[in-house]
Every structure is written in structure tokens, then in C-alpha cells.
Amino acid sequence: MRFRLTDDQRALRQGVRDLLARRFDRDALRAAVERPGLDRALWRELGAAGFFALRLPEAAGGVGLGLPEAVLAFEEAGRALLPGPLAATHLAAGRVPGAAEGETVVTAVDPGGLVEWLAEADVVEGDATGAVSLRSVDPLTPLHRTAGGSGQPAADHVADPVAVLLTAAEQLGTATRACELAVQHARAREQFGQPIGAFQAVKHLCAELLVRVEVARAAVYAAAVTADPGDIAAARLLADEAAVRGARDCLQVHGGMGFTWEADVHLLLKRAWVRTRRAGGGTESEELLARELLTAAGR
């Protein structure tokens, strides 16, 4: 048992990080907020880099890697706050022509009835007839709601575990970004003649940010290795917490500036909120774990 990244995995993560730093840096993020819309060229670049075809077998023209690698790539996407129906397109690779290459943008109707990026998608999985657009809380994620959508999936619904895991990986990346932003600000901003990071109240907010990130990371990576639905549900719950609480604490560390449109903090929080509703939401993961708790025999 060696539960740590291999050299290849580190290289892959760095590769995705470099690509996103080049193609979707902070200026690009802010530009996307002002001019919403999917950057098709970037989508194709991601496709060329193998982002969508990562888990497709080499015989089928894919990269032939596994869930752990996909999780690392999605973590980076979450860290960069990359917009778009990334998970749906990734899951469609190999099934929907052009998805693997980033030529076709695929979105999916969530069991609760929400659809991300409906107007921009080339292919919609699920029935979205009559869907109406919402004024999305996240300026970077356009949302529709289907006519029959209740907001809650059916009680016996089971979300695709891979969709849940990739969502958790994005949350992990966003949580990591929140921690980095908070620490940067705590070092730079001065009050009472010293960096606010020297004050224990601020320090402790930052420490808790990191603790949540590291616990979520262990859970998400382990779930990627085992692909066990219970592990995936646990990972999702911890990653949701790390991202949502992390963004809120990051906002607190930023003070008044954190409450502005100018600061990126709200973008982290709003995206984290959107993801908590995806793929059955946290409730479905909780109920799954509750069932496992009862049935796990002789663990």
C-alpha cells in the first residue's frame, strides 16, 4: 500500500495546472464573468490535451488512464474555476461522437431537474423539453430547470457515482483555491500595524480551511482508488463542506473586500453551491452512507 501520488500522476496534475494557467488565468476568469459563454477554443484544447478522453481506453482513441487521474484533472479545473459542463462531457466521451475530442459540448439533465449550460450544449442527455432558464446565482454557470423537476431526485434514485466523484474533485480544487486566497490575503493585508494573519482569530480560520481541505483530499483520492460508492459518497460530503465552508471563511478573511463583486471569493462560493445540488445532492450521499452503516457486516 502506497497511498500517495506517483510521479506520473504528479506530472499529469502539473500539466493540467500549466494548461489552465496559460489558457484560463485570473484575467480570463474575470472576462468570462463579464461575457458569459463557453470558450469553444478552450474546450477543444482541453479535448486535445485528453481531459475528456482521459479514461477512454487507448484502443478507443482515449488516454487509457483511470479515475485517480481524472480526479486530479478535475481538481485542477475546480481550482481554476473553469466553467462548463465538464463532468457531463467527460462522462459522454466514447458514447457521444466528438465529446472525447472537445468538439461536442455535452450537458445532462440532473435527476433533480436542473440543467447546466443547456443553451450552449450541442447534446443534452435526458429530457429537457420545456426547460426554463433561471437567473443563476453563479455568474459562470447558466442554469435551466425542467418542467417536471421537483428540485429533489426520487427517493430511490442513485446518481452515477463517477459524476458524484468528479464533482467532489472539483469541490476539492475550489476549496484548495479558497485556502490559498485566504492565506495570501492574510499575509498581505495589514491592520493595527501588522499582517492580519498574525492575529490568532484570522490564523485559526485559515488553519480550519486547510484542515478541511486535507481531510477532503484524503477522502476524494481514496474514493478514486476504490471506486466504492460509499467512499464516493463520503468524499462528496467532505468536499462539499470543504468548498462551501472554505469559501465562506475565505470571504470572512477578506473583510469588506470579500463582499465585493471585484474579489473572486463570491465566484468560489457560488460555484461550490451549484455543485452541492448536482448528482442527487448531499442528501442522496447521506442516505447511501446511512444504508451502508446498517448493512456493513463485520467491518
Partner: protein, 376 residues
């Protein structure tokens, strides 16, 4: 990333499981919590059984993975944990192994492993808890001995200990962190008075220790004179880094028992309770994964890094939450000291204090891991 175990590791697991199946039924009944000599004998008896079966070393020089398997299997089988041997096995021993001389290793390590000698930790003082380096217990040199006077507090298992890892001030003129020395003090030396303190759980788990011109041979000094703070950091990194990991498996077992109890009495139909238990299940799964991650990053027998503070922080709060949830499952029975989990709930209140409070751990994480500036 690999979470599978090699055939050799699985073989170790199978042999251990097999041995546990035979050894545990042979254990004598557990003495009452107030019977300290009885508890000492029982805990050491278990350690001796481990020694005879070849498992005593498992916390020290075994492959980190072997250690995880050992913790998993012993906890699952309901085997005793380290008990009175806590300090010796989990931090005094490892400190001596890392910082002691050959003679010191030869003198102290085997008796710990064989279950012959119990250690306690004489760090905290009435006026030096979180601010440990403010300690005032004095030691001065007299021939081949140090002569020690002062007092220690919250010393767990002091009543039944043979040795104490003791911090003393050897240079009162030096800066706070510079004049400290780490000594191994025999607990039967003249001049030592142990006064038990009653905990909120009702038992005498720890004690005050008064030291009146106690003579400790200079040969019992671990590390250099006045370099004890550095040695202390090694001790604390073991205490925070690795000492709690086994208990995560125990928490998962308790959680399963809680779920079954709630199911049996119909409380399971309450979605709020169900989801609270599920969140704890997520929590302890993740803490076990974090353990596996930390262990994979560490080398065998090495000194753990400050990452242990992350684990310690999260774990101590999770365990308190676990027993608070147990109280919800119990309802009125949570007020009955004879019911399971009620004493555990009381004990769990110490986790966010002992071995460095949560506030201190947060400061460590912020300053030593995140690199935030030190406060004035």
C-alpha cells in the same frame, strides 16, 4: 496511489487475525476502572502476549503499512489498546529510540516492549500548560546527579508508572526555550509525592506530582543539557502524529453499533438522526484515509511531521461529536453512567485539551504549515 495490500501484507494480516482469534479468549476479565494496579497488570499482560507472539515492535520499527494492518485488526477484533503503556510505547520509547544513546536504548526500550515498565509524561505544570516552555521545575547538577525540585500536573498514569519523561529547567538565566532538559526519572526515587486528581469522569486518571530534591542520574538525560526543547518537539510530534490513529477504527465500530441500536428502537426513521450518523460515517472514513495517506508519506520509524496536528484537530472534535450523537441515540439513558458510551462521552471531553489544545494546534497549522506570521 495504491490502497491494495501486497501478498506479504495480507499474509501478515491473516496470521495476526488467526493469532487474535486464539489469544483474546485467553485474556483474563478486565479489572474495574478504579483498580489501578489491576489495570496496570492487565495492560502489561496484553503487551507481554504481543511480545511473546512477535508483535510488540509493531509501533516502532515495523513498516508503516504493517502498523496500519495491526491497528485495523486489533481494533476490529476488540483487542485492548495500549492502555497504561501509552506513553512508553507511543512517545517516550520512540523519543529514546530517536534521540537516546546506545546505552539508553539498551536500558529502556526492551522493558517497554516486554510490558515490564510503564512510563508517564511529566511535561505540564500548574503555570505551564499551553505555554509549556514556561515550565519552572528546577534541576541543578550535583556530582553525577541532577537534583530536581518543583511540581508537575495532569500526569496521566503517574500512580502506576516506573519512569517519567520529565522536563526540567537547567538554566534559569537562558531564554525560555533554551534552558530546558529532558530527563528519564525513576518514579520510585525518594522525594516524589504523587497526589491523584479526580477527573470529571469520576476516576483518578491523572495526578499531581511533587518533586522535592529528587536525584536523577545525569546518565538519564536524553539529548544535551539545555537542548531539551528540541527533544520535546520530537516527543510531541510522536504524541500528536501517530498516537491516535488506532482509535479511528474504534470510532467506526462504535458508529456501527449506534446505527444498529437506533434501528432496533425505531429512531432510525428520523432522517435527521440518520443523516447525522451518515455524516459521522463520512468523517471517520475520511480520517482513516488521512491516516493511510500520512503513513504512506512517512518512512518507517521516522519522526512524524506537523501534519499530525491536522489529524489531531479534526479527530478530537469528530470523536466528541460521535459521543454526543450517541447521547441522542440513548435519549434518557445518556444520563445513566452504567450505560455504554456514557463514560466514553465524558472521557472524550479531554481530547480537545490533552496533547495540546485545539487552539494551540490551529496556531501550529497556521504558522508551521501555512507560514502565517507569528503574533506579537
Amino acid at each position: 496511489m495504491d490502497l491494495s495490500y501486497s501478498p506479504e501484507e495480507e499474509d501478515f494480516r491473516a496470521r495476526l487475525r488467526d493469532w487474535l482469534g486464539k489469544a483474546l479468549p485467553a485474556l483474563p476479565p478486565k479489572p474495574s476502572p478504579d483498580d489501578w494496579p489491576g489495570r496496570r497488570a492487565w495492560d502489561l499482560g496484553w503487551q507481554r502476549m504481543l511480545y511473546d507472539a512477535g508483535y510488540a515492535h509493531v509501533h516502532w520499527d515495523a513498516e508503516p503499512t504493517t502498523r496500519l494492518i495491526f491497528l485495523e485488526e486489533t481494533e476490529k477484533a476488540g483487542a485492548p489498546y495500549v492502555g497504561a503503556n501509552f506513553v512508553g510505547l507511543l512517545h517516550a520509547g520512540p523519543t529514546i529510540a530517536a534521540e537516546g544513546t546506545d546505552a539508553q536504548r539498551a536500558r529502556w526500550l526492551e522493558p517497554i516492549l516486554r510490558g515490564e515498565e510503564v512510563w508517564c509524561q511529566g511535561f505540564s505544570e500548574p503555570d505551564a500548560g499551553s505555554d509549556l516552555a514556561a515550565l519552572r521545575t528546577r534541576a541543578w547538577r550535583d556530582g553525577d546527579d541532577y537534583v530536581v525540585s518543583g511540581s508537575k500536573i495532569w500526569t496521566s498514569h503517574a500512580e502506576v508508572a516506573d519512569w517519567c519523561e520529565l522536563l526540567v529547567r537547567t538554566d534559569p538565566t537562558a531564554a525560555k526555550h533554551r534552558g530546558i532538559t529532558w530527563l528519564a526519572m525513576p518514579m520510585d526515587a525518594p522525594g516524589i509525592t504523587v497526589r491523584p486528581l479526580r477527573t470529571l469522569a469520576g476516576s483518578a486518571e491523572f495526578a499531581e506530582v511533587f518533586l522535592d530534591e529528587v536525584r536523577v542520574p545525569a546518565a538519564h538525560r536524553v539529548g544535551e543539557e539545555n537542548d531539551g526543547w528540541r527533544v520535546t518537539m520530537v516527543t510531541l510530534s510522536f504524541e500528536r502524529g501517530t498516537a491516535f490513529v488506532g482509535e479511528v477504527v474504534a470510532c467506526r465500530r462504535v458508529l456501527g453499533e449506534l446505527a444498529r441500536a437506533a434501528h432496533a428502537d425505531g429512531r432510525w426513521d428520523d432522517p435527521v438522526l440518520r443523516r447525522r450518523l451518515a455524516l459521522l460515517e463520512a468523517e471517520f472514513r475520511a480520517l482513516w484515509r488521512l491516516t493511510q495517506w500520512n503513513v504512506s508519506e512517512a518512512s518507517a520509524g521516522g519522526v512524524p511531521g506537523v501534519g499530525g496536528s491536522i489529524f489531531k484537530l479534526r479527530y478530537s472534535h469528530a470523536r466528541q461529536e460521535l459521543y454526543d450523537t450517541a447521547a441522542d441515540v440513548l435519549g434518557d439513558a445518556a444520563l445513566d453512567l452504567d450505560r455504554p458510551w456514557v463514560l466514553d462521552r465524558l472521557s472524550s471531553l479531554s481530547y480537545t485539551i490533552a496533547a495540546g489544545t485545539s487552539q494551540i494546534q490551529r496556531t501550529i497549522v497556521a504558522e508551521r504549515i501555512l507560514g502565517l506570521p507569528k503574533g506579537r
